[in-house]
């Protein structure tokens, strides 16, 4: 029986998907301990209290709402102070954060205020008695550490997408809380939030990268890559050196040894043979898809999935299929 405090992340007044993942993780921890309460903290400006149903849906017994104009944007100093104050005093055995940019900024501050260790960016966890035992990838993911956190409360941040949100509904119960310090007095202030995806995604940031090579045959056919990127919605389009040398695409789009180094979750190589110069810039991508007419092309050696054939025929079909899959998902 242990209570869990979970920070439910929001941005611009809306809860993020990771908030439900974090609540799901917190629920699981509470259940593993023999069934405790999960309290989710939400912070935001006026109106944040409006759409909290989802948190209860995913297992939050209570939602603590920190509503104040000074929380419209992320306010790390007031937020960490408030959370640390809540966590002090023994009500909570565990504290859960998302290992996002915000959670990775906030959780170490809270842990340091409490004087306890932090298990950061865990991909799975279990309890050994009361001790949290979690897996945490290290060395660029080439080693997996299993770590134990002894402190009380035990603070952990959970890697996005490591826990899928699970419905575990209970009635929504909210409680308004106030900041433990004057939230307007924070020294660090967010003065602007620039929402992404308004312009083109940068190659280095995009979770999906689609790269075109000479196999596209002409600069006009790069539209096929742009279309596929649109279908994904979170993709950027790059090119090989041969292509940027030809002037089909700007040099800033070049992926490879003399261009950009990318390591997206998904890399789609379209009409790229896979010379050393190119591989040097994208080998570390998590999943690699190759589409090429030559079945002996070196790119297939490092690709997870390959399709042999005419890119001009395959790409429109692929784009359609992705669009449909995203519409359903």
């Amino acid at each position: 029986m242990a209570n869990v405090l979970v920070f439910a992340e929001s941005r611009a007044g809306e809860l993020r998907k990771v908030a439900y993942e974090a609540v799901t993780a917190a629920r699981r921890l509470a259940d593993l301990s023999g069934g405790g309460n999960v309290h989710a903290v939400v912070a935001g400006g006026a109106g944040i209290a409006g759409a909290l149903e989802g948190l209860a849906q995913h297992g939050a017994d209570s939602v603590l709402v920190l509503e104040h104009a000074a929380f419209t944007h992320y306010n790390p100093e007031a937020l960490s102070a408030t959370l640390a104050a809540r966590l002090t005093g023994g009500t909570y055995r565990y504290a859960v954060f998302s290992a996002t940019s915000q959670g990775r900024d906030l959780s170490p501050r809270v842990a340091a205020k409490l004087g306890v260790g932090l298990a950061a960016d865990v991909t799975s966890f279990e309890l050994d008695g009361e001790t949290v035992v979690a897996k945490h990838p290290q060395n660029n993911g080439k080693v997996i550490a299993t770590i134990a956190i002894a402190g009380a409360p035990a603070v952990l941040s959970v890697r996005p997408a490591a826990v899928q949100p699970e419905v575990n509904a209970r009635p929504l119960s909210t409680e308004a809380i106030t900041s433990s310090v004057d939230p307007s007095a924070s020294r660090v202030k967010v003065v602007e939030l620039q929402q992404g995806n308004t312009g083109k995604l940068d190659l280095n940031d995009a979770p999906v990268v689609i790269a075109g090579g000479r196999g596209l045959k002409s600069p006009e056919n790069f539209k096929l890559c742009d279309d596929l990127a649109d279908a994904f919605g979170n993709a950027a389009v790059g090119a090989t050196r041969a292509v940027t040398d030809e002037g089909w695409r700007p040099h800033s789009d070049q992926i490879g040894q003399t261009g950009r180094n990318v390591s997206p979750n998904l890399y789609i190589a379209v009409g790229i043979s896979g010379a050393i110069q190119h591989l040097a810039g994208m080998r570390t991508a998590r999943t690699i898809v190759a589409i090429n007419k030559d079945k002996d092309a070196p790119i297939f050696k490092i690709a997870d999935y390959g399709i042999v054939g005419d890119v001009l025929e395959i790409m429109p079909a692929f784009t359609d299929a992705v669009r449909k899959a995203r519409a359903q998902g």
Binding site: P76, S80, L118, N140, A150, Q194, R286, I288, F318
Partner: protein, 250 residues
């Protein structure tokens, strides 16, 4: 402008890691080391700020084994002025312990700015910077990829998933530096020679108890061999299915 940069000695990642016989450590034989990339950008940021200010001092602090002197020397070769090694024979498993040791060293340094790399690519904890900020009660901005400092104040752009936060903060402050702020300079031979004569203090790191311990280290399952799914558009449905169910990227 007095700037401290905290850097870490990390293994070069282009290797096949092996796990020690007792299963709790990464085997060190055969590993090569360098300064953590993000820390290189932090050093570069410090040097550029100092150059822009026209005066100042850049101190490089590292917690690590004796051999981490090499990495501090590299920072000195790039242009930092002095180095401090907080010596610890093994790297602590607890980022908070590291933060305490660093904070103790930084405490009375009178730094206008303390810089960290956003993440150390070996431990991948991404926690030491903000923890030190808490311990020293410094304003802190993490993941900085754009930075302006003028008249005792700073403006930083901080990378979020698919968005950017613009923040203002007063000095002194602690920042963690992300990819994209700059490209680090490579030390010239002239710099390497000069670095040999720069001061490097070595003192023991005061670590204290570990709140996080390692129980096991293991290698992830081998990446499945690549597959050719088929020819032409007929293979598309299978590809999409695998991207959804197996690779989970769609």
């Amino acid at each position: 402008m007095k700037i401290a940069v905290c850097i870490k000695r990390v293994p070069v990642m282009e290797v096949k890691f092996a796990i020690s016989a007792d299963g709790t450590r990464v085997e060190e034989t055969g590993l090569k080391y360098d300064v953590n990339d993000f820390d290189l950008w932090a050093i570069e940021a410090a040097l550029q700020l100092k150059e822009k200010a026209g005066a100042g001092e850049v101190t490089v602090i590292s917690l690590g084994p004796d051999a981490a002197q090499e990495q501090i020397r590299k920072a000195l070769a790039m242009g930092a002025d002095r180095g401090v090694l907080l010596k610890s024979d093994s790297m602590p498993s607890d980022g908070f312990a590291v933060a305490r040791a660093l904070a103790a060293e930084l405490k009375d340094g009178g730094y206008d700015l303390v810089l960290f790399g956003r993440i150390a690519i070996d431990s991948m904890n991404q926690m030491t910077g903000p923890m030190v900020a808490e311990l020293l009660d410094l304003p802190c901005v993490t993941n900085v990829f754009k930075l302006d400092i003028a008249a005792g104040k700073g403006t930083a752009h901080r990378a979020l998933e698919g968005a950017t936060e613009v923040l203002e903060f007063p000095l002194p402050a602690l920042l963690t530096i992300d990819d994209g702020l700059n490209k680090e300079r490579l030390p010239s031979l002239k710099g390497i020679m000069a670095a040999k004569k720069k001061p490097l203090d070595i003192k023991p790191a005061s670590l204290g108890a570990m709140g996080v311990t390692v129980r096991k280290m293991e290698l992830p399952a081998d990446r499945a061999a690549g597959r050719i799914l088929g020819e032409n558009a007929d293979a598309v449905p299978e590809l999409v299915r695998l991207l959804q169910t197996e690779a989970k990227v769609l």
